[in-house]
Subunit: 181 residues, 2 copies
């Protein structure tokens, strides 16, 4: 198998929210796929932040496309000029008012490599403490609370913590913690 | 917090590959978000299929949007008129030529509830056996192999198994297996 070739790319939407192209692709076999839609996205960060007493910061917000309230980890977009770590620190502070002295980069993975260009960078923040108020973006309505590991696991089973990118990130940090013991 | 209201919805793309709308949304606070892009998707299935000798079926294919080859679990779209289990059985057979006598529905989660409407249904298939050739869709170029649990875990760490929806699904099955022992 070889990578596909891009024979052409047409902009469908290009604004601050979405950069969507319709590409014309050639497979190694000679097959042509046209259109193949691609969402050109900035990278995202997701933060597993734990307090000294081993509780995890969980945020809850309405997710419009699926029409549900989701419990998730803090996170968001890596802005222009920011490193993933800087974005992770900023998002944790904005969404929960917490900062942490000790950060571990757990790894990266693709948000959805079939349709999107971007990666998620997963961080483990240790010793998180409340240091300020939330500072939410325009349009963000978000609450946060602290949960034990077992509580998050039960929220995954009950579909309350049901954003799969956050499920993947949560378990990657658990695997990191299990490997360290 | 209350669910957002949809004040309007405009079709941007509607073909067999993508159904994208630009919605006008009202938050409980009175804030208006316009446009809010929504991808209306069919549900997907992902299958953790294990052979009698405890090896896992892993597929590998080129993922055009991210421009990478990804190792993943078998899976795909739930077609019209199919149950998630039927789709899971069909995708496992088409992609790997394997079938299994024993299936467990592990749970569902949202693919990306921020932007997409759909859920992923995760299945654990036990006792998978080779019964036929692959039957790939138009445009699918896909190989499969068998890997141990530890090999998949190492592929996640090394970013070779890096599609986050598949990482989430893999760990959900591991959590199910751990809970049963």
């Amino acid at each position: 198998m070889k990578p596909w070739k891009t024979l052409g790319s047409t902009k469908i939407v290009s604004d601050r929210w979405l950069h969507l192209t319709a590409d014309r692709c050639a497979l190694d076999s000679g097959k042509i796929i046209d259109p193949y839609y691609v969402m050109h996205e900035k990278d995202w960060v997701i933060v597993f932040a734990q307090t000294e007493d081993a509780r995890i910061l969980v945020v809850r917000q309405f997710r419009y496309a699926a029409g549900v309230f989701c419990s998730e980890l803090p996170g968001g977009v890596v802005d222009e000029g920011e490193s993933p770590l800087q974005a992770a620190e900023r998002e944790l502070l904005e969404e929960t008012g917490h900062s942490a002295p000790d950060w571990v980069a757990i790894g990266s993975m693709y948000a959805n490599p079939v349709r999107q260009t971007n990666s998620i960078h997963v961080f483990f923040a240790k010793g998180a403490q409340l240091v300020s108020e939330q500072k939410l973006d325009h349009g963000e309505e978000l609450t946060f609370h602290l949960a034990t590991l077992g509580e998050v696991e039960r929220m995954i089973d009950s579909n309350e913590f049901s954003h799969s990118l956050h499920v993947a990130s949560f378990y990657r940090v658990l695997a990191f913690l299990a490997a360290g013991t």
